[in-house]
Structure formats: structure tokens, C-alpha cells
């Protein structure tokens, strides 16, 4: 199992490094059109062929991976931060504050977030640039995905505040923010790390779902979501199986993430 995990980590690092070096590895810029070679098959010039606009599929896959693999962790960081703030406050303050915050968390969890995500994403301004659309899409994912992790953080803080070493610190006169910063937060790190890594695949899948519905990252900027949208041309996929390359990469990365950080997903 340890060897398998090391192998999976190797795959993740390889894909991540390739996407970071997209500028160096990609044969062409992601938006460049080769109008004499539209819908071309794999060749030495275009290893994964070109799309209907003559854009190199490999370049778009590399740049799209960079968008998804950099911004999903950024969204996960945002949701984990909000979860730490709200869940941490609920667990630390206790009493009425805790009950009030918990009701708010329950309320957030009971809402159909994919419906809300679709709605709020659809209500973006009409003239939004691709870079703004990608930032807003992932920011929305981060802003809407905090409730589940907040529950876990609150439970973690509750058990920490009633643990022996915190009681001892209290008895020694350590109180308020000092107790929170010196004793509780450092011990909360493993929970926050776990919530962060569980959220990353959730947000990758959510962006892919939005992209397939045409509500994700705007063209010409590629992401895994809008690259998968090309699969809706069913006839072309049957005759050009190399167009399934984004699916293969998504399955490899998601499978690897699930193997390394098993967890639940809320948006798929």
C-alpha cells in the first residue's frame, strides 16, 4: 500500500509539474488557431490533434490542467479558512454562540448548493473577462463549500478545548487569544489539512460539472471543465478517440487524489 501511495504521489507531482511548466512544454499558446489544420488527428506537430477551431489539444490540456490544479487548491484554501474561522469560533465560544453558528451551518448544509452555484454563476456580469470568470467560478466554489468542513473543525475545537493540555494551560493562566493561538490552533492543523485535501477533488469535480454545463470558465481560457465540453460532439468523439485525453487525465488525477485523501464529495 505504501509503494502504491508513493507511486500515486509520483503521478500527482508529475501532472502538477507538467501543468506548471505548460508555458515550456506546450507546443503552442492555448488560444492560437491553426486554421489550415482544424479537427486534425494526432501528428508530430499536434500530438493530440487540434479542435474544431484549429487549436492544439495538447497545449490546451496542459494550460487547462494548470487552471484546474492551481485554482481548485486556492478555492479549497478559501473554504478551509472560512471553515476554520466559523467552526473554530463555534467550538471555542460554546454556549449560545455555538448553537447559533451550528444552526447557520445546518441551514447552509440543507441548501441545494449545485442549484445555488448554477444560479449565482449564471448571474455574473455579461461582459466578464475569461480571467475574471475563472477567478469568480473558483471563488464561488470556495465561498459555498465551507459548511461541511466547518462542522468537522467545530468538533475538533470542542474536543481540543476539553482536552487535558488545554485545561492545564488554562490552569496556568493562559486565556483568550493566547490560548487559541498557542494551544488550540497548532493542534487543529491536521484537521484543517485533511479538510483542505478533501476539498480539492470536490472543487475540481464541481468546476468540471459547471464547465460541461457551459457555466464554468469562459473561452478561450481552457480548464478541465470546458475541455470536457468538447465531448458533447458525440459523433466526433466516436471517430476521434484521442479527444478523450482530458477524461483520462481527470480520472488519473481524481483517482490519485481519492486514493491519497479519501473523502466525501458534495457537488458531483
Amino acid at each position: 500500500m505504501k509503494t502504491l501511495r508513493q507511486f500515486v504521489w509520483g503521478i500527482l507531482i508529475l501532472v502538477f509539474a507538467a501543468s506548471l511548466m505548460a508555458g515550456l512544454l506546450a507546443p503552442a499558446p492555448y488560444g492560437q488557431q491553426f486554421r489550415d489544420s482544424t479537427n486534425a488527428g494526432p501528428s508530430r506537430r499536434f500530438p493530440l490533434g487540434t479542435d474544431e477551431l484549429g487549436r492544439d489539444r495538447l497545449s490546451r490540456l496542459l494550460y487547462g490542467s494548470r487552471v484546474s490544479l492551481l485554482l481548485a487548491p486556492a478555492a479549497a484554501l478559501l473554504s478551509t479558512f472560512i471553515a476554520a474561522l466559523i467552526g473554530g469560533l463555534a467550538g471555542y465560544l460554546g454556549g449560545w454562540w455555538e448553537r447559533l453558528i451550528m444552526r447557520f451551518i445546518d441551514l447552509s448544509l440543507s441548501l441545494p448548493w449545485l442549484f445555488l452555484l448554477l444560479t449565482v454563476r449564471a448571474l455574473l456580469p455579461l461582459n466578464v473577462s475569461p480571467v475574471a470568470s475563472v477567478s469568480i467560478t473558483f471563488a464561488l466554489l470556495g465561498l459555498l463549500g465551507w459548511a461541511g468542513p466547518a462542522r468537522v473543525v467545530r468538533s475538533g475545537v470542542r474536543s481540543l478545548t476539553s482536552s487535558g493540555f488545554v485545561l492545564q494551560a488554562r490552569a496556568c493562566g493562559c486565556r483568550g487569544s493566547r490560548l487559541l493561538v498557542m494551544q488550540v490552533l497548532p493542534n487543529l492543523k491536521p484537521i484543517l489539512q485533511a479538510q483542505f485535501w478533501i476539498s480539492v477533488p470536490v472543487f475540481i469535480l464541481a468546476e468540471a460539472n459547471l464547465g460541461l454545463l457551459g457555466l464554468g470558465v469562459s473561452e478561450p481560457l481552457p480548464s478541465w471543465g470546458n475541455l470536457l465540453r468538447g465531448l458533447e460532439n458525440y459523433g466526433a468523439v466516436r471517430s476521434n478517440p484521442w479527444t478523450l485525453a482530458p477524461v483520462l487525465l481527470l480520472v488519473i488525477v481524481m483517482g490519485s487524489l481519492h486514493l491519497v485523501f479519501p473523502g466525501e464529495d458534495y457537488y458531483s
Binding site: D106, L107, S108, S110, L111, P112, W113, L114, F115, L116, L118, T119, V120, R121, A122, L123, L124, P125, L126, V128, I136, P201, L205, A206, A208, N209, L212, L213, G214, L215, L228, L231, E232, Y234, V237, R238, V247, L250, V251, M254, G255, H258, L259, P262, E264, D265, Y266, Y267, S268
Partner: protein
């Protein structure tokens, strides 16, 4: 006692739905592009027409007024009119709900049967080899967004309703398999095994009754997962249900329709969670 619990659940559902609807409407109101209409991009329209379009959103600008009007209409059975489809929302919902309910019910039933069918052989035999194929299958399915499952179904010509089942099944498999493994390691199960009881008898009499309440609790959650999955699956497989309607409303920025759909799915989710919660309490008595 049971009636008290049911009444408390009903009150919680009502309050949550009211607050949830308000929260949903508030999120929509403060979304960056609220009040913008795609028709404003039409260069043939005059300034006065564009202003009239903007004025048509004026009633929605004050979210509290909008929501109060919506609730008073709701009490009279009036859900309003869809701005994009120009039809009463109640009429649209009555046409679309049966399609989604059939799709979700089939998906849940098939997904649960498939998930449990994958989990039980490993739980009965206790051999890790029996978990290799189900583990691989569930891992692969969990790696796919539900929209992609629908696309792949269309590509291979598979039955669309089964796509929801393939979204639910891996979650049911993973959760129930972990739960059954944990319960199988409990002292009373080890004692039963030491006394020579068969694996099937141990599963039916000593493992399932303990694990059942938590498995039933997942049933409530799986309803909301199925409704979430129904949006892309209905859009891609072309089922005229409320998921497809939500997508059309989102593209057309139809706020009254979107608020109604959000409230409707919130009610369904809460009722499913409460039903599983109420079902858990009598069945947990055996613990």
C-alpha cells in the same frame, strides 16, 4: 414521543426552508451581475427599451420586499410567472416534477441496490480479494463528475436514468463497506465468530442491525446527492425535469423560477433527511 419528534422535525423544516429561501434570494440579489439582462446587448434596442428592461428588475432589488411578496403569493398558491418562459411557475413545476421524481427514484433504487450488492460480498466473506474489483469500480466512478457520467452514457448509448445510479452507487458502496468493516471488528461479532456462527448469520443478526441506523442516515443524504446529479444528467440526456429547468433558468437569469426551484429542492432534501432521521431512532433501539 414519535409524534413530538415528527412535529419538531416539521417545525425545523419550515423554519429552515423560510430562512434558506431568504438566504438563496439574498445570494442571488448580491451576485455581481444581478439585474443585468442579456437583451441589453441587443444593439437594435433603444435607450428607453433598455431602461424599461432595467425597471422590470426593480421589484427584485429590495430582497426583503421581493421575498415577502413571494411568500404572500406562496400562501395563496401563486408561485409567480417565469420571466424567461412567460408561463406560471406552478404549471412548469407540475409538468417537470414527475419526470425528475421518476428519474431520481429509479436512480436511488438502482444505486442503492448496486452499492449494497458490491459491498455485501466482501462483508460476508471477509476476504480482501472480494473488494478489489468493487473498490476499483467505485474509485473510477467517484473520479468522474456526474455530467461526464451522463456524456459517457450518451456516447455508449446506455439508458440515461442509470447515470444517477452510477453517481449514487460508489458512495453507498464506500460508506456501507467501511461501516460493515468497522462493525465486523466489534467485540460481540468476534465472540459470535469464536462460537462458530456462520458468516451470513453473523452479518444478518449481529452486523446489519448495528450498522443499519447509519446506513439509513446515508439514505437521506443520497436524496440530495441524486437531486444535485439530476441537473447535469437531465441537461445532457435531455430529460425535461426540474434539473433541466434550473439550468435553463440559470442561463436565462430567471430569478423567480430559480428561487422557487431552490426552495423546492431544499424542502425535498430536508424531508428526506428528517424521514431518515425518524426512521433511525426506532431501528437504533437494538444497540
Amino acid at each position: 414521543m414519535w409524534i413530538h419528534r415528527a412535529a419538531r422535525h416539521t417545525a425545523t423544516i419550515l423554519i429552515t426552508v423560510l430562512l434558506g429561501g431568504l438566504l438563496g434570494a439574498t445570494l442571488l440579489r448580491f451576485a455581481p451581475g444581478f439585474g443585468v439582462d442579456e437583451q441589453e446587448l441587443d444593439t437594435r434596442l433603444s435607450g428607453a427599451t433598455i431602461q424599461a428592461l432595467r425597471d422590470s428588475h426593480a421589484a427584485e432589488r429590495n430582497v426583503l420586499v421581493f421575498y415577502a411578496r413571494y411568500l404572500s403569493g406562496l400562501l395563496r398558491g401563486d408561485l409567480g410567472v417565469s420571466r424567461s418562459l412567460q408561463r406560471p411557475i406552478s404549471e412548469l413545476l407540475s409538468q417537470r416534477i414527475p419526470v425528475t421524481l421518476r428519474l431520481v427514484a429509479f436512480g436511488l433504487l438502482a444505486g442503492w441496490l448496486l452499492g449494497l450488492a458490491l459491498a455485501l460480498p466482501g462483508a460476508i466473506s471477509g476476504k480482501p480479494a472480494h473488494d478489489i474489483l468493487p473498490g476499483f469500480l467505485s474509485g473510477a466512478l467517484l473520479s468522474l463528475p456526474s455530467a461526464l457520467v451522463a456524456v459517457l452514457f450518451v456516447l455508449i448509448g446506455g439508458p440515461g436514468p442509470l447515470a444517477i445510479a452510477l453517481v449514487i452507487a460508489p458512495k453507498v458502496y464506500r460508506y456501507s463497506r467501511n461501516l460493515l468493516a468497522q462493525t465486523s471488528a466489534m467485540p460481540h461479532v468476534l465472540a459470535a465468530r469464536a462460537k462458530g456462527l456462520s458468516r451470513l448469520r453473523i452479518l444478518l443478526w449481529h452486523v446489519l442491525p448495528i450498522a443499519a441506523p447509519q446506513i439509513i442516515a446515508l439514505a437521506g443524504v443520497s436524496v440530495s446527492i441524486a437531486f444535485g446529479a439530476s441537473i447535469p444528467i437531465e441537461v445532457i440526456c435531455d430529460f425535461p425535469g426540474i434539473g433541466q429547468l434550473a439550468w435553463q433558468a440559470a442561463l436565462a437569469r430567471d430569478m423567480p423560477l430559480l428561487v422557487n426551484l431552490t426552495v423546492l429542492v431544499t424542502v425535498v432534501t430536508l424531508v428526506a433527511n428528517s424521514a431518515s432521521d425518524l426512521a433511525v431512532s426506532p431501528s437504533s433501539g437494538r444497540q
